[in-house]
Symmetry: D2
Subunit: 303 residues, 4 copies
């Protein structure tokens, strides 16, 4: 069954997901404040709307609206603008990386207007367009069921790689934990390759090692595939600064684990290592050097 859907936010993720839906036979009206983004979307079969109001107008009730905007205030702002335009029984999906407690609050707010709110944690990155997205979905069963054709198209296969995991918020919660795990996996690989890179007397070819591991080893994974790819293109990682960003989800996972009294040292430290990578002038390390000088007369390295 083919559906009509309004995609709000046509950035990299939103545009790709809309395109995958169009390829799957669905009709997608898309809105983005950027004319360029709308133009690009249009070239891929997404019908652009010049405003949220126009987008709403062009969809038959009960509508399906998919938000693919950055987490935080912009979600609240968009919902505030949308809400007066919506009708009872419309469904709004938040496919972004919202904090699950925000999602629960928003769901309650929309429910008071008779509008359904579904949270869809979405994994797959830039590869999702071709390979499909892994979708962790929270919300009322009936609302989720209504969107089944959408999820079946977005996922890697109609009956695999997606599912309703629980009530409103459960999808974003699960995606949050997914990202926490992702931090830990990435850090484990990064440390292992760094150890090998420092073993200079063996002159290991890190790209070769990654390729060997891709086949048959216990550590084979999609992240390893990407690592092999990155090392193939740039074996010494030349020109790349040792500077690692983090998004909110790693932080939330670390905090949530503590709230739940779960010790998650590896996920937590993976986050802290990213913070550390961005602090080239560590006050803690300076103080350690100063202390060593105080008690032992050990030399301080000048800045």
């Amino acid at each position: 069954m083919h559906m009509q859907l309004g995609m709000i936010g046509l950035g990299r993720m939103g545009a790709n997901m809309a395109e995958r839906l169009v390829r799957g036979g669905h009709t997608v009206v898309g809105f983005d404040p950027s004319p360029e983004a709308r133009g690009l979307a249009s070239s891929k079969g997404i019908s652009p709307a010049a405003s949220l109001a126009e987008l709403i107008d062009r969809l038959p009730a009960p509508r399906v609206l998919w938000l693919m905007v950055p987490a935080g205030k912009i979600v609240d702002d968009t919902l505030a603008e949308l809400l007066p335009l919506l009708s009872r029984d419309d469904v709004v999906v938040d496919g972004g990386n919202s904090f699950y407690k925000d999602t629960m609050r928003r769901g309650q707010m929309l429910a008071e207007q008779g509008v359904h709110y579904v949270d869809c944690g979405t994994s797959g990155g830039v590869w999702g367009l071709a390979e499909g997205y892994s979708l962790m979905i929270g919300g009322e069963t009936t609302a989720v069921e209504r969107l089944r054709p959408i999820f079946a198209t977005l996922a890697p296969a109609p009956d695999r790689g997606w599912g309703r995991v629980g009530p409103g918020g459960a999808g974003h919660f699960t995606k949050m934990v997914h990202n926490g795990i992702e931090y830990g996996l990435m850090q484990a690989y990064a440390e292992g390759f760094a150890i090998m890179q420092h073993k200079t007397d063996f002159a290991l070819d890190l790209h070769q090692v990654a390729e060997i591991w891709r086949e048959g080893s216990v550590v084979r994974s999609w992240l390893l595939d990407l690592t092999a790819d990155a090392l193939g293109k740039n074996p010494k990682l030349a020109g790349i600064a040792p500077y690692v960003e983090d998004s909110g989800e790693g932080r939330w996972t670390a905090a949530e684990a503590i709230d739940l009294n779960v010790s998650a040292p590896v996920i937590t430290l993976s986050l802290l290592e990213r913070l550390r990578s961005r602090d080239g002038d560590s006050f803690a390390d300076k103080l350690l050097a100063a202390m060593r000088n105080e008690f032992g007369g050990h030399k301080i390295k000048a800045e």
Copy 2:
């Protein structure tokens, strides 16, 4: 090209590897001190030898001998027994999890007798028989090349999943780091699932979540496949003690990282968490409780 090979050690790993070689058309003579192991091997097309001497006798020079015995003293003992029986230009492969510095020492010892020593880090576990093994190989190029038909059969594909990564010891070094990464990956998943398991109000079905992630997500991997499998069979992990063994390789990786001045916190902590899982009566925690009582009068929980 089919080869003849002597497999020394017919435990789970050795027997499986020998069987994969036999299936691939090679001739394998196998030795194990256990008559049962020899009998089982025999039923799979491996020709059993009753002693190391017999095994050597039945192979044409220059011979290929593959050790698949537990790391440590037993490798040294086996080499001591083998060495007088070997001829110049024979090749001995250590396919087990030996410490790479032991391997380097042994390689030097054999080289003095004109015998080649090749180290082959082997990953794949019980699945290797069917899927092939990931092989990280160290040693002289000519010796490794001579064994090419063997590696091509053991690996998942003739030209993928195996390679000579460096001189003697480099194979075991690479395998050691592989296992360190494995610890980190496993711990990251374990923590993530534990966080979800503690979020009782969402009543997440952890097996379902694992299955969703297997398709299209950033965290998809072979270890996740196995996790999904384990959770499918036993969703609450009932009857499983929270007790995790470690083998030497995690310890060596942690120590090696420090020797190389590489900070590898996630790999290291993954090891420490395993130690912690086996210490149900932590003296450190008792002392913390005692200290809290001393300074703040906080109650101590009785044992």
Copy 3:
């Protein structure tokens, strides 16, 4: 100069602080909902009030009120009850372990009524009565200055061990970090003693070692003094469960560090170790055991 002060909360900390003030010549009216607490306080020269209203009545304006109640809702409830009874220019001190952002919010609320709010992070535990408290104070300079005689009496010495560290909230922030450091220090000692306890062939007398270190060593500290004391009384820590509570401040420090983009691995892990000590049935460890069984056929220990 001697002052009059109302102490609200006569638990262990509040009663001790009030007693130290009385010993220092100040007049203290105290309130606690528990008649037993009021009775005990009375025996120590604290004049008990049967209600907050009575306590307010018996103090001359502008009043000084010191809250020593558990952090959280009870502070808000107490302030809600107090506020209608207060006069312009009264000062309320929160001497407890409140979260500094709550303190900032409360300070703003009180300021709207012309009431000053001062936050006083208080360290010293049960020893403070005899040795004096370390006081980290936040709030307007004039309000803090007005209370100088109080702080001078509570501190170990009139001019040492206390100070205004910044605006409202800064005192509780500083105390929060103090407690985070405390977690790290405690964990470092606990680990060290645990290592020695496991080195059974040396049969070290841990109490003796602690006593040696108390004199002249780099690790000497008050916490070590307490550790020596605890080990002197109970060298094997017999009967003490390996179960460590945490209060909010360690959690807040870990979260705050992340918010400030500071990597604080030791403080953070010290908290996680406490969570771990209370999770005797770790799901993460069970899953690790299950995974090892899946890929390597490694035996699972039965529960």
Copy 4:
């Protein structure tokens, strides 16, 4: 009772300890290969010897020789040179930071010649001259007892701050753990002060905070005294590079904990943080940035 002692190694630690012994009335003959070191020692009442042979000649048998040289090969070399010169029943003390397993090996070697070997872990740094040293001693009881007057003078008080903690090696083992704890304590303070330094809106005066904590707080310690001193002299730690050396003892403690199956995450991470401080070009962090770019198209920061 006053004794005669030969001090071998007149660097900062050796010269200070010899000076404290001279001040205490003992007679010290000192050797160091550096003429400058001998000259400086001479000015402090230490009688310089131009060679090990001369030093041995000038001491009455049974002799007491105190090694205060860097850990490692130099200890073995010195013992090799000393041994032919020594007589049955002489005592050699290693007061340096030797690895305890080396000490056990050396003790056995000397015992075969009838020479006693005593290991003395020494803490106190440059402050020991004035305040006395904390001494953790391993070796035979009779040999340790013979040196009682020496230990009583070196320690902060004749009967406190020193003790025989066990057989040969136990002193160095205990000192090793002491240093491991020291790493953890230092890191805990460093992190706490870094958190406060990043809380720029409170503009905390870190020196003031340290001074407040020195009196009455739970975190008061000698290391905090030194921290306060360092911050008093250089509040912003200007000109100090965030670069922290480590000596062998932290590494040994981390490794030893693992060997004993003790999880010591805080001590271990404190070491790793020091390694990290010296790796300004982290390959792990570069790889993380490269991976993020691969799966999510996230921008890489150029080097």
